[in-house]
């Protein structure tokens, strides 16, 4: 198994990263980080047949780590430079469709165990059994978590001031 073999799955990895990220550039950086991590851990991959699941697992971990780090950084920014954080948020909103920005914020705000299932299903479009293999869950658990995640996203959108204004 080489890096080239892993690059066959790059679109799937990118979709996962896109689901967790705020914009295209962040998703691309994250996808690159996933492949760097995969390259470093390639020697530890025992069964090449599971490379795709392994890669998606790395993607999930890298994205969740990234979100955690970003949250910590934002907390610090809010504490020490609130204007900079507001400008950052405004810039993110301006580059995206406002409703899409809301969806992305809602996905990023989900608890990790719900967010990962949502992204693997709605962005990477993996079947339930593959999500289960990637996350080490039974398909029934995947489904129930997915339903909860979808409901949470829909609720967040309904409760947002932007949505209320449009109605």
């Amino acid at each position: 198994m080489t890096l080239e073999d892993l690059l066959v799955h790059r679109e799937g990895v990118f979709r996962v990263c896109l689901g967790f990220s705020r914009d295209y550039a962040e998703a691309e950086d994250l996808a690159q980080e996933v492949y760097l991590r995969a390259f470093r851990g390639l020697a530890g991959l025992k069964n090449p047949a599971t490379a795709r699941d392994w890669l998606f697992r790395i993607a999930r971990n890298a994205c969740l780590d990234h979100i955690k780090t970003a949250r910590k950084r934002r907390k610090l920014l809010v504490r020490f430079a609130p204007r900079a954080d507001a400008a950052d948020a405004l810039e993110a909103r301006q580059t995206l469709d406002p409703r899409l920005a809301l969806v992305k914020a809602a996905v990023r705000g989900l608890p990790p165990r719900l967010g990962e299932v949502f992204v693997l299903r709605e962005y990477a479009r993996l079947p339930y059994d593959e999500i289960g293999r990637t996350l080490g869950l039974r398909p029934g658990t995947v489904m129930s978590r997915l339903n909860r995640a979808r409901a949470a996203v829909a609720r967040t959108l309904q409760e947002s001031p932007h949505e209320k204004r449009e109605r």
């Binding site: 990118f14 896109l18 998703a27 492949y35 899409l100 709605e122």
Partner: protein, 183 residues
């Protein structure tokens, strides 16, 4: 694998996600992602090999350096060196003569006369030569009692004690007489 429990995502949200994905994937396909990853891997490999360079030094060399460092620390702690005194020989006695009646000064002058030089013979010889030269150079303007014998060198604790006393005496004199000025 659909079940009755499987509630789909609202249609408008699904369309938003799909539109985002389509646009992002079109851009992603046009970018040379594989080349970018290869570059990043190469750069990462360079950094990793630079880090590995530190491991190329054999273990015995690390161990020898550690033992040498430890021995140096032990030697430094076991044989404390004291440098030559910054004071002229006989300072204690001169101060005692100038300020009679100060108990501390008298005691210091007695201790200074008894205290052996704490330097090694070689260092002591060098310091003695240096002190002799300095004394000779200043002999013309030095004011010392004629009967004064060269005093031995002082330890660091003694020096600190002298400095503190000196300050105290100076302060006391300046308080007692506003016109007093050192030197």
């Amino acid at each position: 694998m659909k079940s009755a429990k499987d509630k789909p995502l609202p249609e408008d949200v699904r369309r938003l996600i799909e539109a985002e994905e389509d646009a992002a994937l079109a851009r992603f396909r046009s970018d040379d992602f594989a080349g970018r990853v290869a570059k990043a891997v190469t750069a990462n490999g360079d950094r990793a090999s630079a880090r590995a360079g530190a491991h190329r030094i054999p273990r015995w060399a690390w161990a020898a350096a550690a033992v040498f460092g430890l021995a140096a620390i032990v030697a430094y702690l076991a044989f404390p060196k004291r440098g030559p005194s910054p004071f002229e020989p006989g300072t204690a006695r001169a101060a005692s003569v100038r300020l009679p009646g100060l108990d501390g000064l008298d005691a210091w002058a007695r201790d200074a006369a008894l205290e052996p030089a704490p330097l090694s013979p070689a260092a002591g010889g060098f310091a003695a030569v240096l002190a002799g030269l300095t004394t000779r150079a200043r002999a013309t303007d030095a004011v010392e009692p004629a009967s004064m014998a060269p005093a031995p060198r002082l330890g660091l604790e003694k020096l600190m004690e002298i400095l503190i006393r000196d300050r105290a005496v100076e302060k006391a004199l300046s308080l007692a007489s506003p016109k007093f000025k050192e030197g």
